[in-house]
Subunit: 232 residues, 5 copies
């Protein structure tokens, strides 16, 4: 948010900008309530960004459409794009084909995730190392499977505390995966990431260029954020 | 695209900017229909860029000319240059001289590629590693040939699904090669890049600084993109 | 601080900006005097930044609130955000559960630190290395404990000279820890960091991307800094 | 070039800017025709820059003077500085003292090079690696000499096709050398850099942070570039 | 220097800006002539910066004061800060306590250096490597001492040709040391840095992120630089 520029906008124009934003937000909500996608608005902690939006759609075209609509918002004239990540949902390479209904429903949930209703979000991209002495991609399949099994066990031990949406961005964006965590208590992000860091899949083979933490918000609160204490 | 600056441009001036752009676009089309070059307009996914253009020309001078014409467009006053890559088409070092007509026509196609009519594009630069323990350039020729053979086999197995234009930029730009993939389904980009990443030519010896994914577009749709829902 | 932009602000508007800033500063002071948080204003040395603020709060939401209030200050229109770090206080992984009252009060102080009243501050983020041949996270627990013991011993030998607030930012920000030192003499920062650099926990396993040094200040002095010798 | 800003300049002011530029360019030409220096104007390919200037002078002060004159040009208000490199010409460390007249004239040419009259230019900075397992500076002199001999042999095999000006920038700029190639055909840049990359001096011990390629131009063509199709 | 912005400043305002600058410069001179500090103005070569200032003071507070005064100069509205480094003078760790008067006076000169009256300056930050296989900080003291002895010998062999001010910035700024060289001939910078690069303390254990070279100047010449050929 370019607060200085936004502050100069007259009250009635600000309202128009926010009305446009809320119309778009309502469209996203409509898509979500029809089960055709999902999204999550957040206020980002620290100086990396002010606002974040995670959008899940069935096709890249739908995603592009949302992106274009956002860019065309008059409100966007006062936003400064910082970080983005394009990725697709995936089922783990090491899970095998499900053999039970519960297995299939798990796969379905992985491929068509919904952003959970938890108040805190943590996003980080991840790649596997490919340096001499620590090359994930030259490990035998079984070794990688064993490592990912340990990894998955820790992930599952946080069930109820941390929800995870794992997406693949290899060939689509700069890093290989995008990890999005959701929790009721942000300290859980620190706990799970710390615990994972001590197992081989992460300690030896994980690269984590940056982390973003945010707080869930919604259009109404964003409206309030952008109008309260802004003078005039 | 600097949307905020563009929004302030009066309707009739916007039209003039777009007319200039469309004249240039028509010139590119003319060159293409005369078989003297080829190009591909795309809308880039994510916040890295809005629009992309890949241009193939027979000489660096022709390329420079296109670049200069683009920069002089009035529309360019509202575009922010982000990423560029200069490279030349090449035939693989490991293929040997063709011995059949079909071989020669393959070489010809490699040296004078045309951008295919597929709706999705993926571009990534690539260099070969030169670190102790993983130095592509000190490998014996036969070893490199074997590695590239495995690499080519995967590439060919995507025939019909993914079209590839490989260009060399060593000595011309920061990375050694430019890889451009085209597909009917963007998930194929993730699939082929993942599959390639597990073979030595990539796992040990490939460096991939960034990836761009986009959707094919054309001047008419760019016009629409820049005028629809932009007020006035 | 964008001094050029600030210089153009008329005297009376400058006063309004500073009044807003001082109201917020007084709120921070009130929170501090109620024992519900703590903070430290500083003037940063060198060209990395002009002003710095360290804020300790019990929840991420309270931290977010402070951040938002700061961003909404009219004065912030003349500030340029540079570096930020989000982290939580923690007790060392290697200390074990305290067995004495003194031990518990030490833990309490670590978890609920107060910024000390010392005139110099030094902040640096830190991560543990995870490269082949120097991977902190694959070391056995006892080895890490022994290394941290040596580390702690040096830290304690500076008691009285250097106060330390250690916070964890793994999973919350780009680096794994944030280290904040406070001293009566800034040369002590150089001394302790140098001494620490020769022991394994730092020499082999520490990564230190940047260092910031500053001088304690307060709202009154910031007011003076922003008004003295600024013309009009 | 900030084309958007330049476009707003009225015709007559543009002329004044260009007249100032051409006066300076004529001064450079005069110095060159007096044999007291040499320079090369180019149009840079890709989005890294629009215009480039390589200037050779006998002293750092003369170089500084040219730089200052350039910065003070009114035209420079519309140029955005991107990349620069300060270096001095040198004779190879491994050539020994010349023993023939031809040898001395070669040394002289290396120390007082003239930019050749070739239409394409390629510039890249270079450093020698100093990592464990590939440290140029700990190799014995004879080993380095042998490696540079192989390197020089390839360089000489391009005689007539590629002219090389090698300058040293160790202690003066961020990288250790600056390599400038000139050719009648830009594909030669790709060929020579590729061939060199397979020999040890480059494959193991060379670091090449970036490459710039450009086309020779002159003040008259720059004038045309900046006035043609720029409206008004 | 933002020359474009400066050019727009009316003649009389430029004079006011320069008068303010010269008042500050005179204050610095006064401090220097009282033996309470030292400084060096330079014009930086290449596009990294236009002007540089090295200031030596006895306390961080005095340094901060100079920095603040500089930032508040009206002239600073037309300067763009680029690179800064905060450090303290130090005596080598390996020299031992002096045993002679000459030794003590050497130590005194190292701790309270004066910028010498030489026309060229070279500044570079430096850190010691801490990677597996080349970790300065895990070397035994005697080994480091021997390496630094070789290093010092080369430094001393340039006595009269190159003056050195070595300052420590570990714990104060991003790199561990700041090296400032002064010479009558800038080629000496290239010579000494090259010679040093072949000995272990630098070849194996030195990291040199960037180099700056400049020419000594003074307020009068800066005034001339900023007014000559600037129109009006």
């Amino acid at each position: 948010m370019d607060w200085a520029k936004w502050r100069l906008v007259p009250q009635n124009e600000r309202r128009e900008c926010l009305d446009g934003f809320e119309t778009l937000a309502a469209q996203l909500d409509a898509v979500q309530s029809q089960g055709k996608g999902s999204h999550y608005w957040c206020q980002v902690n620290g100086q990396k960004a002010d606002l974040g939006l995670m959008v899940l759609r069935e096709t890249l075209d739908q995603l592009q459409e949302v992106e274009t609509s956002l860019e065309k918002l008059r409100l966007s004239d006062y936003l400064v794009p910082t970080i983005s990540c394009v990725s697709v949902t995936e089922v783990g390479l090491y899970s095998g084909k499900p053999t039970t209904d519960r297995g299939w429903s798990y796969v379905n949930a992985s491929l068509h995730p919904k952003t959970p209703d938890k108040p805190y979000i943590c996003f980080y991209p991840m790649s596997k190392t490919r340096v001499p002495g620590a090359n994930w991609y030259t490990l035998p399949y079984d070794q990688r499977k064993a490592y990912m099994h340990d990894h998955g066990k820790i992930g599952r031990s946080y069930a109820g505390k941390v929800s995870i949406i794992l997406t693949g961005s290899i060939g689509l964006d700069d890093y290989e995966w995008g990890v999005t965590l959701f929790a009721d208590d942000p300290v859980q992000f620190k706990k799970i990431v710390t615990e994972l860091r001590y197992i081989e899949a992460s300690s030896i083979y994980g690269e984590f260029p940056y982390f973003l933490v945010g707080t869930k918000t919604d259009p109404e609160r964003i409206d309030k954020l952008l109008t309260d204490q802004m003078g005039q």
